[in-house]
């Protein structure tokens, strides 16, 4: 009885890769799907902003300046009468793409440096890790502030600053991954049955290093969107006429006592976006490493 029940199950498990099973677990997680849908909605709103937004983001309407939320302007208007909802939707183009591109930079450099350090060890490892130590002796946001201060303000410079400041996290994680995996019993087992190096790397090292990486990418996206907003808020990052979320907060803070809606909605929008990436990150962690889930 038991045997017949367990057999098809194990067969099914064998026929699918571990990634497939992880994605299945992810899809069963309701909050994960909620997070994913939120991100998709935000992306769609940002990409289709020219068609979906009720007004043009730069359209000035002085008569309606500081309008409180109403049917015509669901989230109100700013000091120049520009529609806040439209600006927030357009702002997604800046904020989300800064997040994505900066994480691509951090991940690409971090994974490369971390793999080299972990794989070769010795002096190279020592040099790379000491450099990373130096980069990590600042709080991450401070590093981003310094690099932005040096590069100047603007969209592309904000991406570079955030990208560089995120490199240490990926380097450390990748190096630790490679080191753990190299000493694992399954690698020893694979070596002992005479597997080729390429097979070990492709079949064992990469898939096992991959899952923490996906989780980190998702969490880094959350952090990056938040940091981009912080940079723009203190006047570094993207500059005010552009509707980046942090820049909108920065522009609205002078009117905050009388017109709090100018700050309330962009902030909520940032929070929802970051929350969604965080939820996805957590769910991915649970899905990829079911042992961790409690």
């Amino acid at each position: 009885m038991l045997k017949s029940q367990s057999k098809p199950h194990s067969q099914e498990q064998k026929s699918h890769g571990s990634m497939y099973l992880a994605m299945q677990r992810f899809a069963r997680n309701k909050s994960a799907l909620a997070g994913l849908s939120l991100v998709l909605i935000l992306v769609v709103l940002a990409v289709l902003a020219p068609w979906l937004s009720p007004y043009a983001y730069e359209k000035i309407d002085i008569i309606n300046a500081f309008a409180k939320p109403s049917f015509a302007h669901p989230f109100g208007t700013d000091d120049l009468g520009r529609d806040i909802l439209s600006r927030m939707m357009y702002g997604g183009r800046y904020s989300l793409s800064i997040g994505i591109f900066s994480v691509i930079i951090s991940a690409a450099f971090g994974i490369f440096a971390g793999s080299v350090a972990g794989y070769f060890g010795g002096q190279i490892d020592n040099i790379i890790m000491r450099l990373i130590d130096i980069l990590q002796s600042f709080p991450q946001i401070l590093l981003a502030i310094v690099i932005s201060a040096a590069l100047g303000t603007g969209y592309d410079k904000c991406i570079i600053a955030l990208g560089i400041s995120g490199i240490p996290v990926f380097t450390r994680m990748m190096r630790a991954n490679i080191l753990t995996i190299r000493s694992m019993e399954y690698i020893e087992a694979a070596t002992s049955i005479n597997c080729r190096d390429s097979r070990i790397i492709m079949k064992h090292v990469i898939p096992n290093a991959f899952s923490p990486l996906i989780v980190q990418i998702s969490l880094s996206l959350a952090y990056s969107v938040l940091s981009a907003a912080s940079l723009s808020f203190i006047g570094l990052g993207v500059q005010p006429p552009n509707p980046e979320w942090g820049a909108m907060l920065s522009a609205g803070r002078n009117y905050i006592t009388n017109y709090p809606h100018m700050v309330l909605f962009p902030g909520l929008y940032i929070m929802i976006c970051v929350l969604a990436f965080n939820i996805i990150g957590d769910a991915l962690r649970d899905a990829l490493d079911p042992k961790l889930k409690r």
Binding site: R130, L131, D133, I134, L135, S137, F138, P139, Q140, I141, L142, I145, V146, I147, A149, A150, G152, A222, L226, A229, S230, F233, I234, G235, L236, G246, L249, R253, I256, T257, P260, V263, L264, G267, I270, M271, V274, L275, N278, I279, D282, R294
Partner: protein
């Protein structure tokens, strides 16, 4: 233990020097001539050349780095272009505010975060667990400066209970500290929950339970001391977040700390002030990380044992703290 402290202190020297060189180099390649910026638009090329000479800007890069390091070791970060005062004096005047705000936020984050995390772990899968985790998820995702602005709207503009900006008595720290600590509370709660959960089902906890020890005693004497190690580690990185957050929160509340100074310096291209404040923050951060590491060694006897006599080392290794 002395050996461990010494080793960590010595390691700080190359890191701080590395930071200084890195920051100097980043600022060195910034486009724009500091001498011209200092003198303003009306300066003639001769005046600029004289100023360059006076500031040592016409020296080769390596000479400038070397001078910068030597001066830094003498506690001299140069003169602020904007205020025409020594940067180190400005920093020392402002540092107490930044440190105080970071420390208050850190204490709030630790106390509330560990409490929330422990409650969530002990009552796993109950409503209180879900609420604690929801608070922490929202807290991690909320921009602290936005929370600060919203707190100002509610507690200063609407209710008039607390001051909206400036510095003074303890009431001036309440809003900034709360806004700054929320992210820390959230990540501390998550870390505490997972490390308490890890320990709560350990063999020695089960043994204690089997002996009839009360749940409270198990929690206080067995679970928390063991769960504390990862909690302290994350507290260290949390402090970095607090310090970074403080720099931004200060600008919201116009507090005269290092953050406000740095942002002003950046906006006015006051490079010695930017350089000085960043290197200063990095040094302070390294010192705090050192203290955290020392606490870590104090809490975890395994680390302490590694730096004590070889004979005792064996008996300490692999034995959890206060295991029953």
């Amino acid at each position: 233990m002395a050996r461990y402290i010494l080793k960590r202190l010595l390691w700080m020297i190359p890191v701080v020097l590395g930071v200084a060189v890195l920051i100097f180099t980043i600022m060195y390649f910034v486009p724009g001539n500091p001498a011209a910026i200092m003198l303003g638009a009306s300066a003639t090329p001769e005046e600029i050349a004289i100023m360059e000479e006076a500031l040592g800007l016409n020296q080769p890069y390596f000479k400038q780095v070397f001078d910068f390091l030597v001066n830094m070791l003498h506690g001299d970060f140069g003169m602020s272009y904007l205020y025409r005062t020594p940067v180190i004096t400005d920093l020392m005047n402002r540092f107490p505010y930044t440190l105080l705000l970071s420390l208050i936020s850190m204490v709030i984050a630790l106390v509330v975060g560990i409490l929330l995390g422990t409650i969530a772990a002990v009552k796993q899968d109950s409503w209180s667990d879900r609420i604690c985790m929801l608070i922490s998820l929202v807290g991690v995702s909320m921009p602290s400066f936005w929370l600060a602005l919203m707190l100002v709207v509610v507690f200063s503009a609407e209710l008039g209970w607390l001051p909206a900006f400036g510095i003074g008595g303890p009431e001036y720290y309440i809003l900034p500290a709360f806004a700054n600590s929320l992210g820390g509370i959230a990540s501390q709660a998550r870390q505490s929950r997972s490390s308490v959960l890890e320990v709560i089902r350990a063999d020695y906890a089960t043994t204690a339970r089997a002996k009839g020890v009360s749940e409270r005693a198990i929690l206080l004497k067995h679970v928390l001391p063991n769960a504390l190690i990862p909690i302290v580690t994350s507290a260290g990185s949390n402090f970095g977040r607090m310090l970074g957050g403080t720099l931004i929160i200060e600008t919201v509340f116009s507090m005269p700390g290092i953050g406000t100074y740095m942002v002003q310096a950046i906006n006015n291209r006051d490079y010695p002030a930017v350089r000085g404040s960043v290197v200063f923050c990095a040094i302070m951060f390294s010192i705090v990380m050192l203290i955290v590491d020392l606490c870590y060694a104090y809490i975890d006897p395994r680390i302490k044992a590694r730096y004590e006599g070889k004979k005792r080392r064996k008996s300490y290794v692999e034995k959890p703290v206060k295991a029953a």
